[in-house]
Amino acid sequence: MWRRLVWLLFKPASQQAQGSVEVEIEQLRANDRTAWNRAFEVLFAISLSVCCSAAPSMNHHEQEDVAVEAVEEIYDYVGKVNSFEECKRLVVTISKNRLLDRFRSKATVKHGAGQVDSLEQLEGFEAVDANQRQPDALMLAGENLMILKRALLGVPEQYREVVEEIHLKGLTQQETADKLGLKIGSIGVYLDRGLKALRQNLPPGWP
């Protein structure tokens, strides 16, 4: 609790944009561009998370298309929902429905007209952990993804690049040193500092 209090009081200004993104539904209704861009980030992350978990074998471009279409559709609902939280839940549902539509049309083309009622019946759908199927779990997974991304963007560039090359792209320290033109001895230091900065940027208790 003390750590959280200290974090809330003394967190650097650059970190204020990180963490859970709060968007007011009234701002979206008022077509506030800044609010919409913040909302896009969260909603896209959630939608992409749904697409990747429900249809991992789907082409990446198609997953992205589905996620973008799902986020675009949210605009039509801002007048009907009470909070941005509902928008986040809604994008999970819309994403699943759009995936279903895509798979259904493919199944129709391949096998002829038939009844497809759920993603589980479709080719390309892989069973995922039961918890992951719950809308709230999917939503949280997407939100956590965006929180992590923002936290990473708040890490100083020279440290962030090392963290990304090693932990996100899977390069070795030597490969990273060669790629970034750094000494091998610096990689360890930069990595350590990058991870510490990342941890500081993340909310206490995350994930």
Binding site: F40, S49, E64, V68, K149, L153, H167, L195
Partner: protein
């Protein structure tokens, strides 16, 4: 940050790596091309929403006094006036008195003496001439006349008149039974039977006058 926390963080990064990489390498949490698509879609939707608002009937925006009235609002007063007039006319027509039909006349004569009188006047013929469509009844008995006199047709919409020449009493009794109102009785004296035709004519005038009320 201790070793456990560092390990946990590294594990989270590795788990999230596929999706984190999809979110782009730039300084934005969203790939630029995705942001561009979403902003373009937002522009379209805002523009479409603005077009819908502008295309709404002007009546929603204008002051109520300024908007063009519909045909119903223009004609409603006339329609109301016509309806009220029609209702009044209907009430008046339904309640007005029926057509002024001619009275039903029944004629009778009481003559207990008969031709023995010897006046030379044929009262039955005079009665027949006065009321051509009616065949006078002749009675020689007052009781029979009385029964005839009391026998009034029921349910008639017309005025019923009984004209009784009582030769014995030298009088003409005119009894009118109108459909509304009490019965009217008029007595005309016949001092001289030679004036019977004139008296019958005055009885006719009397009947006419009484029926027109």
């Amino acid at each position: 940050m201790n070793d456990d926390e560092k390990l946990k963080l590294e594990q989270e990064l590795k788990k999230a790596a596929p999706l984190l990489n999809r979110l782009g390498d730039g300084s934005s949490p969203l790939p630029d091309h995705v942001r561009a698509r979403l902003n373009a879609a937002l522009d379209r939707k805002i523009a479409a929403a603005s077009t819908v608002v502008e295309a709404k009937p002007a009546g929603n925006r204008r002051d109520e006094h300024e908007r063009e009235p519909s045909w119903l609002e223009v004609w409603r007063w006339w329609i109301g006036l016509v309806t009220a007039t029609a209702a009044i006319v209907l009430i008046v027509v339904l309640n007005r008195p029926g057509p002024n039909l001619p009275p039903v006349i029944q004629v009778a004569m009481l003559d207990s003496v008969g031709t023995v009188r010897g006046t030379g006047v044929q009262p039955l013929e005079l009665l027949q001439q006065q009321w051509k469509a009616v065949k006078p009844q002749e009675f020689d008995d007052a009781a029979k006349l009385k029964r005839w006199e009391d026998d009034w047709p029921t349910g008639s919409k017309q005025t019923v008149v009984k004209v009784i020449y009582n030769r014995d009493a030298r009088e003409i009794l005119v009894l009118l039974q109108t459909k509304a109102g009490p019965p009217i009785t008029k007595v005309l004296q016949v001092n001289d039977e030679h004036d019977l035709a004139i008296i019958l004519a005055s009885a006719t005038a009397l009947i006419k006058q009484s029926s027109n009320r």
